[in-house]
């Protein structure tokens, strides 16, 4: 099979098919798209409210209001060709975040932990703001606040002093230290500093300290997340304990709503779950009377230490499953548990959509020896019923999907099940084996393999989408400018969602999550048809 797979850096690799490098003019990109554009009746005229912009000249006084849609001809991509960017080395509008951000989030999901960034102050502040804008919850990230001197002489003293201050202020049970580009570049030996720290202050009641290397010039926030989860397991789950029969679930980077749903699922199977990390309470907590320095909830430290007693471990994320063996031992948290303690390891995808949820359920059935609980069986049945009821609205619609690799795989799998054709799947990560996973989840259900890009930025996604006439975008908020340019809906999923309320409450996983996502996709298509229609139907 020839995959439309653009390898790594966006350069044309051998596998790159010649069918879509034509700037949007090729027949195969347009056939479907143009037909529906015209069937909609007004795909060609401006949508209401998105009229051509009358740009006042530079010196004139412009009206004081938010500007109308940034120019564009409206309608589908392909009508106003974008300038091409062959072989670019720069990144425009990144489709990824930096590595330590993922680690900070993962550490936030441990009970009584303080995420700590070893680097200069700016990085921590930027990350906090980014996270807060999505979750609308406090997100404290301590920083060793290196200045110019420390950048030259090393950050050890600041790191130690920082941890002491954090202890005084937060009384944490765990400090999760991640490095930044700065401290990686100056070659700070964080492991060494921490050993010194434990020796120097061994008389104090020290918290556990887990550290992880997260230079952003190597990877994205997902690598940071995975590395932090692995570090938590590797550095804390050291001893073999009595079996307790709980299910160890490494869910990947999913929403608080997802995490609650997953816990319910395991509980309904009659088992207890240790979910690591568990952001559900720390980043979606109740209103408080007293501000607590540390939010409630998260994976209890004792549970992490006792992971070796679990009945089995389930690790979600196709890209994780394909991570090659690292030089420093098992590559993922799940494999650490498997290799160190012989726990059965069930590697599944993010449970998004019917089949990926089935895979998770199969793992739970195998572990617990029990069948799918009635409640979830009914959810599954209702979802299949909805597939039938809703299929006509979305059948053959063309989607562009972007975001973290594992999320993209799950979303594409779901979209494929409801009859939406993913024409482009993109991630900012490299080396995620995205094409293979996409091929697996779409096999036999799609007329053609989607174009798949790793290491993508949004401009590359947009350039590629040009020739593919998409009907909708599926992914985080950052794709909005393109949805607006092309006048097509954006169905929001994943992180960050900075332009809607309740993004962190979105449910993606399980049969209920599949249902919720399907409802949103179908309604986005219906809403577009409705608002584009000159008739104004209220019965569709």
């Amino acid at each position: 099979m020839t995959l439309d797979y653009v390898a790594n850096d966006g350069l044309c690799a051998d596998e790159y098919s010649d069918s879509c490098g034509c700037g949007g003019s090729c027949a195969d990109g347009c056939a479907d798209g143009c037909a529906d554009g015209c069937a909609d009746g007004c795909g060609c005229t401006e949508a209401p409210g998105a009229g051509p912009e009358t740009a006042p000249d530079d010196c004139g006084l412009a009206p004081v209001s938010l500007k109308a849609a940034p120019s564009t001809s409206g309608g589908k991509p392909g009508k106003a060709p974008r300038p091409k960017r062959p072989d670019f080395v720069s990144t425009t509008n990144a489709c990824k975040l930096c590595t330590p951000l993922g680690a900070m989030l993962a550490f936030r999901g441990v009970e009584g932990a303080v995420p700590f960034l070893h680097g200069s102050q700016g990085c921590a502040t930027y990350m906090r703001r980014y996270v807060i804008s999505h979750y609308r919850e406090p997100m404290d990230i301590a920083s060793s606040s290196l200045g110019e001197k420390q950048a030259v002489y090393g950050g050890g003293p600041n790191l130690k002093k920082g941890i002491l201050n954090v202890m005084k202020k937060y009384d944490p049970v765990l400090v999760g230290v991640a490095t930044t580009c700065l401290t990686e570049t100056i070659g700070d030996d964080v492991g060494g500093y921490l050993r010194e720290f434990r020796n120097e202050f061994g008389d104090l009641d020290l918290p556990d300290i887990v550290h992880v290397h997260t230079p952003s010039y190597n990877g994205t926030h997902m690598e940071g997340w995975n590395a932090a989860v692995r570090a938590l397991v590797d550095q804390l789950a050291k001893d073999k304990v009595e079996p307790h029969g709980k299910v160890a679930l490494l869910p990947g980077f999913v929403s608080p709503a997802d995490l609650r749903h997953l816990r319910d699922l395991v509980t309904d199977f009659g088992s207890d779950a240790v979910i690591l990390p568990d952001l559900s309470d720390p980043l979606d907590g109740p209103a408080l009377e007293d501000y607590t320095p540390l939010p409630e909830g998260g994976t209890p430290l004792a549970d992490i230490r006792a992971l070796s007693g679990a009945a089995a471990v389930i690790e979600c994320g196709c890209s994780l499953a394909m991570t090659p063996v690292g030089s420093t031992g098992p590559a993922t948290a799940g494999r650490v548990l498997h290799e160190r303690f012989g726990l059965p390891l069930h590697a599944v995808g993010l449970p998004i959509g019917l089949r990926e949820t089935d895979a998770l359920v199969a793992a739970l059935e195998a572990i617990t020896g029990k069948p799918l609980p009635r409640r979830h069986e009914l959810e599954r049945g209702r979802f299949v019923d909805a597939l039938v009821d809703g299929h006509k609205y979305v059948s053959g619609k063309r989607a562009v999907v972007y975001g973290e690799a594992d999320l993209v795989i799950g979303l594409v799998s779901l979209l494929t099940e409801i009859g939406v054709h993913t024409v482009l799947a993109a991630t900012g990560t490299r080396g995620a084996h995205l094409a293979e996973s996409i091929a697996a989840v779409t096999e036999g259900l799609l007329p053609a393999m989607p174009t798949v890009i790793e290491g993508a930025d949004f401009e590359e996604i947009a350039d590629t989408a040009e020739g593919l006439s998409p009907d909708l975008l599926v992914g985080n908020s950052k794709g909005y400018r393109y949805a607006r340019q092309w006048n097509i809906p954006l169905v929001r999923a994943g992180f960050p969602i900075h332009d809607r309320f309740g993004g962190h409450r979105l449910l993606h996983v399980g049969y209920a999550g599949a249902q919720a996502l399907m409802d949103r996709v179908v309604n986005a298509v219906i809403e577009k048809t409705q608002s584009d229609s000159p008739v104004g139907y209220c019965y569709l």
């Binding site: 412009a62 990144a94 102050q121 703001r129 950048a151 580009c181 700065l182």
Partner: protein
């Protein structure tokens, strides 16, 4: 240093006032209680969760609104990703500033140097976007790997025939303030490079307004009604060509003096352009600023004073009746202010008085000793003044002072909201214009909308009070 801190770790019982870390005590002051002596403007304390950002952030804030320039962040991806289109600085024309460009340095670049990648990135991006100028921001890593930004920029400038200007904004070299200075130095390289023939003797530049939600257009409108030509809105809806000839303006109006005063000083030194410190927030400050401008130009155009008076009178006549109802509802309510630069705090304190509210807490990320001293003189006795605060401290005072509304940026919002306190976004992400007379009304409405919402009665700290028998404060 390290060992000295150790004994305090166990002695937590001592921590009283806001559980302040010992070293932070010098950064909090209560107005009217002894002389103010803030140990401010120093590096954030390791391990404290500071709300501060870095040098790069400061530069990015100031230069970002120059809409027809290419802003290339030379560094790993995060620094660029976190600053992509998060600010509400509007442009009336080109919108190149809303794209996020990065060299996205990879491991091999860090090892072998990033100059080649930087040159290639500039080459391709300038060709593609045809900007009027390019700013290249240095980030922490670049400071370490020793890329010669200046040399690459010079070469590219020659090759492409546009100014390509390095911004020395390595994050770790201080805080936002140093970033402001780096940005001013970068802009100053543009100043004085274009002819000024058609500049009127009655002309100004607007510095330090970022055109959030179109604020600069409000201010421009007032100035134009007074008969004044605006040569360049340097930091809001900015254009490279305007900045190149802005030395022709007769006066610089400097708001948020922390960020652009340096540029005004450089222009004063080299071109003799005088400057006025102004503020467009709140009624008095807006009016005083316009009067000061009129006074400045009175000798050139005596009619300007009368025109300005008319303008202010008309605006106030329209505004005051609209504020009346709001004021009635808000009288006696309490506000907390925590902003980036302390100058904004002055205007806000006055603005709150206009709607009947008392400011009980005021703080900033980057105030100076003198600014805090000045701030104390406009505060009511007992008002807590705080420098470079962290969430715990802020939340402590919010509760102790029973604050009704908190004015701050996005990082403070969850603290206020978690404790059930109203919030007004007064930072760069906001989408509502708060400048000018019109902005004063928007501000009042914002505060009113938050404070008067019914939701506060359901949050824990008020829910308890609501169940107290009649007569008690509900």
């Amino acid at each position: 240093m390290t060992t000295a801190t150790a004994p305090n770790v166990t002695a937590t019982a001592e921590c009283r006032d806001a559980d302040l870390l010992d070293e932070r005590k010098k950064q909090v002051h209560r107005a009217g209680q002894g002389p103010i002596d803030m140990a401010c403007n120093r590096e954030s304390l390791a391990g404290a969760v500071s709300q501060r950002a870095c040098v790069f952030c400061g530069s990015r804030v100031v230069l970002y609104p120059i809409a027809d320039a290419l802003h290339l962040v030379h560094g790993p991806i995060g620094c660029a990703a976190y600053t992509w289109d998060i600010r509400g600085a509007l442009s009336s024309g080109p919108e190149l500033h809303r794209l996020s460009f990065s060299t996205d340095l990879q491991e091999k670049d860090v090892i072998f140097g990033g100059e080649k990648k930087l040159a290639a990135a500039l080459d391709e991006l300038i060709d593609l976007h045809q900007p009027k100028a390019a700013f290249v921001y240095s980030t922490c890593i670049v400071g370490l790997i020793g890329d010669d930004l200046g040399a690459v920029c010079r070469k590219m400038s020659e090759k492409k025939g546009i100014p390509v200007i390095p911004v020395q904004s390595e994050g770790f070299k201080g805080n936002k303030r140093e970033g402001y200075l780096a940005a001013c130095k970068a802009m100053f390289q543009l100043v004085g490079t274009a002819p000024t023939d058609d500049v009127s003797p009655l002309s100004v530049n607007i510095l330090g307004d970022f055109n959030l939600a179109g604020e600069i257009w409000i201010v421009r409108g007032y100035l134009e009604r007074m008969g004044i030509q605006v040569v360049a809105n340097i930091t809001g809806d900015g254009r490279v060509d305007d900045i190149r000839r802005c030395h022709g303006a007769a006066l610089n109006l400097v708001q948020c003096s922390g960020s652009t005063m340096d540029l005004a000083k450089m222009m004063k030194e080299k071109y003799g352009t005088p400057h006025l410190r102004v503020s467009y927030l709140g009624i008095e400050d807006m009016a005083d600023s316009l009067y000061a401008v009129a006074e400045h130009f009175e000798s050139v155009d005596p009619g300007i004073v009368e025109r300005t008076r008319d303008l202010v009178r008309d605006e106030l006549a329209a505004l005051m009746p609209r504020l009346r109802d709001i004021r009635r509802d808000l009288t006696g309510k309490r506000a907390a202010i925590y902003v980036g630069g302390s100058f904004k705090a002055f205007s806000l304190i006055k603005a709150f008085r206009h709607i009947g509210m008392n400011v009980v807490l005021v703080g900033s990320q980057t105030g100076t000793q003198e600014e805090y001293q000045e701030l104390e003189t406009v505060c009511d006795p007992g008002t807590v003044i705080i420098d470079d605060a962290n969430p715990l401290e802020l939340s402590h005072y919010v509760r102790e002072l029973d604050v009704d509304v908190f004015v701050g940026g996005v990082k403070e919002r969850p603290i206020a909201h978690k404790l059930g306190v109203g919030f007004c976004d007064h930072n760069h992400e906001r989408k509502i214009a708060l400048a000018g007379f019109e902005g004063m009304y928007n501000f009042a409405r914002e505060v009113h909308a938050s404070v008067m919402s019914p939701v506060w009665r359901f949050v824990p700290r008020r829910a308890r009070r609501a169940t107290v028998p009649a007569g008690a404060d509900a």
